[in-house]
């Protein structure tokens, strides 16, 4: 519990504003234009163990903007150890970026020595919960930095689950003292794909543990809504975002994720401005 107490005391939830995912293609826009982005999130694996231009981009941002790291390699839902070279590279990146916190998805991304590079659904059972708690505690001890888990999208519900996702997440948060990176778009996508009611799901999560919100675009492909991060945030997700902030009763660090079909920098900035507008409407003066 020593680590957990230290984390909560550090309170990384202090409001940073609205951020955007760092893309090297947007480097000129970041440094050469006037924009509204308050902080940046790096996809950890795109910068871990990299030198050259990617590393220099971080060096240029450091000190000017708060940075956080967001990865997909810890594979929280598989019971195996994280590869040591991965841990060392991530720890080095977190130190180099002076990351306020780091996060990963509540998913399986590798198992049995195979790396799938995708977000596969965890098994929601008592056995799996216990092992995930154990793994997150290890991660918290090893990295000694505030850590958050992100809810993912699902395209089907396994009949092997024995508990709801909201229960799995809530118990995980209670047992580990890590934070929640709440992806509002994923909640919306799950409502579309599985019929889970988005607002009911959000109400069941402990809002005081939400350190960050993700907003992103998705697309309809045949029978599924796919979380693609390749377009603007849709109106329904904006509405859900506003509703959730009102429910939470406090401004929450918000990040626009746009990883594919990258738009001009101004388009990304316009999404940031829109998120700031929502925050300002609910919490006047928060953006200034």
């Amino acid at each position: 519990m020593e680590n957990a107490e230290r984390e909560v005391a550090a309170d990384p939830r202090s409001f940073l504003g609205v951020g955007a995912g760092l893309r090297l293609e947007h480097e000129r826009g970041i440094f050469e234009t006037s924009h509204h982005i308050d902080w940046f999130e790096l996809i950890s694996e795109n910068f871990m163990d990299y030198g050259g231009k990617p590393r220099r981009a971080i060096a240029n941002l450091k000190g000017k903007y708060p940075l956080v790291c967001h990865g997909l390699g810890l594979s929280l839902g598989s019971c195996e150890d994280v590869p040591p070279d991965y841990c060392e590279a991530l720890r080095e990146l977190l130190d180099f970026t002076e990351a306020r916190w780091f996060s990963d998805h509540l998913c399986i991304s590798s198992s049995l020595k195979h790396h799938y590079h995708d977000l596969l659904p965890i098994l929601k059972t008592e056995d799996s919960l216990e092992k995930t708690i154990h793994k997150i505690r290890w991660i918290q001890r090893f990295f000694d930095r505030p850590f958050a888990i992100e809810n993912i999208t699902y395209y089907g519900e396994s009949r092997h689950h024995t508990m709801e996702e909201s229960e799995f997440i809530t118990r995980l948060l209670a047992e580990t003292s890590c934070y929640l990176l709440l992806d509002i778009n994923n909640v919306y996508v799950n409502e579309k794909n599985l019929g889970h009611k988005a607002k009911a799901f959000l109400t069941r999560l402990p809002s005081d543990r939400v350190i960050q919100i993700h907003l992103a675009g998705h697309e309809q492909r045949q029978d599924f809504v796919i979380d693609t991060h390749g377009s603007a945030v849709c109106e329904e997700v904006w509405e859900l975002y506003e509703w959730y902030l009102k429910e939470a009763g406090r401004p929450i660090n918000t990040l626009i994720e746009w990883d594919n079909n990258l738009p001009p920098f101004e388009t990304l900035d316009a999404q940031v401005v829109r998120a700031k507008g929502v925050l300002e409407k609910l919490f006047p003066g928060v953006s200034s």
Binding site: C79, L112, L123, F224
Partner: protein
């Protein structure tokens, strides 16, 4: 269901291509299978862009075959593309010149992304008594190619900018070093002659304590043997060229 069985199920489904009891509908299982394979397709297209430009590549088919022969062993997504030139050559999917092009493109990626030796870079131009004089830039690769890939790309881009690559390279055995200029982050190409290769070999064995220009010259000469000799001024000229090409850093004792 026990977690270990669930995890084995994913491996069976995604890697071994077998049906697995994950409690999901076949349609959903197929969707996840497609996601994982699409990563291979995307990453191959991203790393081997020039190959894609100058040859009609059946990427989906290749990506599936490559996935089966070289399963996803690395946590770094781009590293999955590492063995693709070997896969192309082994299965005779393209002609030799295009295998060389693929090796070149992988080399470029490795150098672009290499962690490098920032400490050595920061310390260039500085050094104390006994420090090695020359330090090899870690952000480099040496390629032995059968075709003049660098010349082909260089001439094409000079005349056509970044238009899609066309034509074919001339057959010409060559040793090419791609190194990263730490100042700009750009890749620098060097077609090596016999002197360059000897200098490179001497640097690759690691810097020795107390190294100076004379001892380094002797080390290079030893690699070249008796039949090829070069003078002190030729040596200095070669050294200056390789330094300019970012293949090593020099310290001033």
């Amino acid at each position: 269901m026990e977690l270990k069985n669930y995890l084995s199920g994913w491996k069976k489904l995604l890697y071994e291509g077998q049906e697995a009891d994950l409690g999901l509908s076949p349609k959903v299982s197929e969707l996840y299978r497609g996601f994982v394979r699409d990563h291979y397709r995307e990453i191959l297209g991203k790393v081997y862009t020039r190959l894609d430009e100058c040859h009609p590549c059946p990427w989906d088919e290749w990506a599936q075959g490559y996935f089966r022969e070289y399963p996803p062993y690395a946590w770094e997504l781009n590293h999955l593309a590492r063995h693709f030139p070997d896969y192309l050559e082994k299965n005779r999917l393209v002609s030799e010149d295009l295998v060389d092009l693929a090796r070149y493109e992988w080399g470029e990626y490795v150098v672009y992304s290499h962690r490098g030796s920032p400490k050595a870079w920061a310390e260039r131009g500085r050094g104390g008594q006994g420090d090695p004089l020359y330090i090899l830039n870690e952000a480099h690769v040496l390629l032995e190619l059968r075709f003049d890939i660098a010349g082909w790309i260089f001439h094409w881009e000079r005349e056509n900018g970044f238009a899609p690559l066309r034509g074919r390279p001339s057959p010409k055995s060559n040793i090419l070093v791609i190194a990263r200029d730490e100042k700009t982050g750009n890749c620098v190409m060097t077609l090596c002659d016999i002197f360059h290769v000897a200098l490179y070999e001497a640097l690759s064995t690691g810097p020795s304590e107390g190294q100076n220009e004379r001892t380094f010259h002797l080390a290079v000469q030893k690699i070249l043997g008796e039949r090829v000799r070069f003078t002190k001024s030729e040596f200095r000229e070669k050294i200056a060229f390789l330094e300019k090409q970012s293949i090593f850093y020099r310290r001033t004792p």
